[in-house]
């Protein structure tokens, strides 16, 4: 146990986390510092392309059937998280079911920045993982969003006593695939598989990755501090859920990953990736999709919960936690 705590604390000192906390402090202090919106957009594009490219290059040289079980696991976890949200958060006093579903959907969906923060730390910790495992992202992201929107629509139709009109699933999937985050990652994967982008990858995407990630962490930190105010306007249950849920979701997915590890050769590092994408909550593609899909849900509740608390918890607690566990298991 003391070993584990030691490993956990070492993770806490990583620069990634330092930059995140730096952003929180800076914004809390009311600084005028602002990273321009276009830079933020470029950085997220850059990071997801980089992750996609390296996954694609890896897939090119790997057995594509290996991904089947982990992808299925990712899907099931994404869907399960929505129902967990509905039956825990949604049952609490004063919480509207649609708000709970939207929050569950956002926490089931995946954060590109959390994923980007994880990978270099796995590398530093020398924990091997399937290079394609970042490609699990959309397999958890899209089912979670689709489930949240479909269940909310069914719920609202029933509640309003309307003749149940069928909810169309394909448009929701399409909108998720068209979102800038998922597109950037899939474009990277496709280019990694089909072309030979090694020269660009080695001269550009790989060396600049840690730097842009650090800047993104500052932005995420500033954003978390800023959204705190918004979160204060909604029921406290959202804050409590946002603190606990990433950890619970992480353990759920880590368990699923371990089972797949037993069945196939899926690595422990891969299980950590699965755990952290489950622990993460979407910050780019999820919010607009949910806003359009469940318009009556309160965005201050679900975006506030995710950005102000969910993402910091995923990065600051879940990443070191699951890396610590994996290191302990490796001994």
């Amino acid at each position: 146990m003391s070993d584990f705590i030691e490993l956990f604390i070492k993770q806490l000192q990583s620069p990634t986390l330092g930059f995140l906390i730096g952003g929180i402090v800076v914004a809390s202090f009311g600084s005028q510092l602002a990273i321009p919106d276009s830079i933020y957009r470029f950085i997220t594009f850059f990071l997801l392309m980089k992750i996609g490219l390296s996954a694609g290059i890896a897939i090119r040289n790997s057995n594509p059937t290996e991904i089947f079980l982990p992808a299925l696991g990712a899907m099931l976890v994404g869907i399960a998280i929505v129902f967990i949200g509905q039956y825990t958060l949604g049952r609490l006093p004063g919480i509207k079911t649609t708000d709970a579903l939207a929050t569950g959907g956002l926490f089931g969906a995946v954060s590109g920045s959390t994923l980007a923060a994880l990978l270099p730390q796995l590398d530093s910790a020398n924990i091997p993982y399937e290079a394609w495992s970042a490609a699990l992202y959309p397999f958890m992201d899209i089912p979670a969003l689709v489930t949240a929107i479909v269940v909310a629509s069914v719920y609202l139709t029933k509640k309003n006593g309307e003749a149940s009109e069928k909810v169309e699933i394909w448009p929701i999937i399409k909108e998720s695939l068209q979102s800038s985050a998922v597109t950037a990652m899939l474009l990277g994967v496709a280019l990694g598989i089909l072309t030979k982008p090694e020269s660009v990858y080695e001269s550009f995407f790989n060396p600049l990755f840690r730097g842009f990630l650090a800047i993104l962490m500052i932005i995420m930190g500033m954003e978390a501090a800023q959204r705190m105010n918004e979160l204060r306007k909604v029921a406290q249950w959202f804050a409590i859920y946002a603190f606990i849920a990433p950890i619970v979701h992480g353990f759920l997915a880590f368990g699923v990953g371990l089972i797949i590890h037993k069945i196939t050769g899926f690595s422990i590092g891969g299980a950590v990736v699965l755990a952290v994408i489950a622990a993460s909550s979407s910050d780019i593609s999820g919010p607009p999709t949910l806003r359009a899909g469940i318009p009556s849900a309160n965005p201050s509740a679900y975006i506030g919960a995710s950005t102000a608390i969910g993402t910091p918890v995923a990065i600051a607690i879940c990443i070191p936690l699951f890396i610590g566990i994996a290191e302990m298991m490796a001994r």
């Binding site: 602002a34 919106d37 933020y40 954003e223 607009p288 806003r291 359009a292």
Partner: protein, 104 residues
């Protein structure tokens, strides 16, 4: 040299802009003008996950010149029906004088 036309202004969440424009075109307006905008109102919900710290203008202001009051009212009505319940949005209207040789 001039004609009286109506200017309808819509200020609302950026996320709605494509939908509102579609609706404006469907109603038969000859055009529209869009500005990025920020602001606060009575509902004031945020609809994106994009960082607010970077001073994103998360609203949009759409202006439509219409030749008749009816057309403007139709657009207002369509917007009200579709978006007033769930989104931050306001609309208002006034008369302006446009050059006669442009058809509205």
């Amino acid at each position: 040299m001039s004609q009286q036309v109506w200017k309808l202004v819509i200020v609302g969440e950026e996320i709605l802009s494509k939908k509102i424009i579609k609706l404006i075109k469907a109603a038969g307006a000859t055009g529209y003008t869009v500005n990025a905008a920020g602001g606060e109102g009575s509902r004031n919900v945020r609809s994106t996950g994009d960082p607010s710290v970077s001073h994103t203008l998360s609203n949009v202001k759409i202006e439509v010149l219409t030749g008749t009051r009816e057309l403007a009212d139709k657009i207002t009505h369509d917007i009200a029906t579709k978006f007033y319940a769930d989104y931050s949005i306001i609309t208002y209207i006034y008369q302006v004088e446009a050059l006669r040789d442009h058809k509205f």
